[in-house]
């Protein structure tokens, strides 16, 4: 194993032939997912790191990961079952909150890391139950919601920070009818806090009604992104609400909310 680092709020171990990404949170010595992470969010983090080192164009994806989100966030092709033999990269997951991205045939060893952020059993269980309820197909919206079509329409902007070049500046999210704008362009996933608020559970949108009370509310930041545009994002892993004006933030992919059997993912802000 060559390198261990904190990456997108996870523990990443880099090897020439594989990448191991582990949740920092533990329950009774077992790695568990955080409040808004799952196998898909860990897989995106692994892919983003590897893509920064070498080309990854296609990958096999196990059941339980959202292939469309991986494609939108990382630009990789998800290989169909019939073509698995020709796929150079495999994504794998374990019973714990650990995901491996490996070259086909690589001999993988998962390192035992000392870093552990213990979580409370009852809080962890309550959050998992809330996610399960949210994801149920009978958990329906009353009208104003982000449908699957709307989600996919904005997926590249939301998950991969694709904006529109417009002269010297970038328009994000891209606009239909934006005269003078050229093709989409990838943006850096970093910015600084222009403003912030911590919402009480009662002040949060109803999409978050099940989880906001368990998280003691939500924190939202308005960021000036390093490429120019501004954006609003939920903060991730910010139980202490210790954000400040001007603080640097990186954007990492996490679960946003679920409804009608469909999980919505998006970028959230992580204080760095």
């Amino acid at each position: 194993m060559d390198e261990h680092l904190v990456w997108h709020g996870y523990l990443l171990s880099h090897h020439e032939d594989f990448t191991v990404i582990q949740s920092p949170f533990t329950l009774n010595g077992t790695r568990v997912f955080g409040a808004d992470s799952d196998p898909t969010t860990l897989a995106v983090a692994a892919l983003m790191h590897r893509i920064g080192i070498e080309s990854v164009t296609s990958v096999s994806v196990p059941e339980g990961m959202d292939g469309e989100t991986l494609t939108a966030a990382c630009g990789v092709e998800v290989v169909k079952e019939d073509d698995l033999d020709d796929c150079p990269w495999d994504l794998m997951m374990s019973d714990e909150a650990v995901v491996v991205l490996a070259k086909q045939g690589a001999e993988v060893t998962v390192p035992q890391l000392d870093v552990a952020v213990p979580v409370m059993a009852d809080e962890h269980e309550a959050l998992e139950q809330a996610w399960t309820k949210e994801l149920h197909h009978q958990h329906v919206s009353q009208g104003a919601f982000v449908s699957e079509a709307a989600y996919m329409e904005g997926a590249e902007a939301r998950l991969a920070m694709m904006g529109q070049q417009h002269g010297d500046s970038i328009v994000w999210p891209p606009r239909y009818g934006e005269r003078g704008a050229s093709e989409v362009t990838g943006m850096k996933r970093t910015g600084r806090v222009l403003s912030w608020t911590a919402l009480s559970a009662a002040g949060a949108p109803s999409e978050f009604a099940l989880r906001a009370p368990l998280l003691d509310g939500l924190s939202t930041v308005l960021l000036q992104l390093d490429d120019g545009p501004n954006g609003v994002f939920l903060l991730v892993d910010d139980e202490d609400h210790n954000v400040t004006m001007g603080a640097p933030v990186e954007l990492v992919l996490r679960r946003l909310y679920a409804q009608e059997g469909f999980m919505r993912y998006g970028l959230k802000g992580r204080l760095v």
Binding site: Q142, G143, A144, F145, V146, A150, G154, P173, L194, S195, W196, T197, A198, L199, S200, A202, G203, A204, P205, S206, E207, F208, A209, L218, S219, T220, L222, P229, N230, G231, V232, F233, L234, H241, M245, L256, Y257, R264, G266
Partner: protein, 390 residues
Amino acid sequence: MVNVAMVGAGQTKYGNHPLGLKGMWAEAAEQAFASVDGDFEPRQVDEAFIGSLAFGGAQLGNTAALLTEHSGMNGVPVRRVENACASSGYALRDAWMAIKSGQADVVVAGGIEKMNDLTPERKRYWLGVSGDTEWERLAGLTFPGTYALMARRHFHEHGSSHDDLVHISVKNHLHGSLNPKAHIQKEVSFEKAASGFMVADPLTLYDCCPTSDGASCVVLAADHVARQLTDTPVWINGSGAASDHLALHDRPSITRLAATQKASKQAYEQAGITADDIDLAEVHDCFTIAELMATEDLGFAARGQGGVFARDGAGRLNEGAVTVNASGGLKSKGHPLGATGTGQAVEVFHQLRHEVTHGRQVRDAEVALTHNVGGSGATCAVHVFGREVA
């Protein structure tokens, strides 16, 4: 071009109203019709515009047709106007334009919202439907959060503070305590307002308007008809409106509302006045920071000086050059979303006719302004009124 006057105005009390949509609208419309000095029948109405978000979705489609049926206006061409909280500000503008165009002589503009017959969960859902659903709502924002972002940025850029917002809350509660139509007719101390339950840091419960039921209605007439109906018309001398990016993060600045600035500039120019000529202003204080910014955007305070304006009590009833929210504003009078814009016009109607009671009359009021904002500033309508035609 024809001039337009308000000749009648009425509204329900705002708050937890025992009646539903039909009963509330009938009450407001009947008051408005009865307030016309001369003989007036609803069948004289040529056109009607009714603002509503249709909160709760109970009568989401064809809301306006249902309401005309219950106010003696069956058969009158009508439509629901929807621009979130600015719905009836735009209904008023549409009514004004209908007369200005020469297509109508007598037009009704009104608004209505029934908000308190929903469960807390449904209410919370509907309170967030007017922001940018895809980008703001998914970032955890409803309007308390959006305005909290504005407040914190204003504090940072201009040195204003939460204490300035508390002064606004205390003032509007004082004014509302004198208004029998207000939702919250109760004064609040500085200390209590400063220590309210935190809703969206830095905004507390005392920075947020209540969710109210209510309906409001005004009758507009072309000048040649208006003079037959009353000796004391209230003239609409300017109507301005503008839109802006729906999402806060797309705007170059979040410490001003560009739509307010544009709309007020238009309205002032039409009326041939400046902000200095306004005696009273009903401004859209859905949150106290909204009033602070509005006093700057409307020109009552210099850019960045809204906090000083509030701290100095410049908007208090009959104490400064302009009285801001003599009705109690959205903070105390209440905010039945679709009814708020024409509800502001109802207040102005009575103020400019010098017929307000309970010690709430703005002295020697000659010129007034209403300022109605949709969402966090995506839409705005500003109207300027006078006892004399411009």
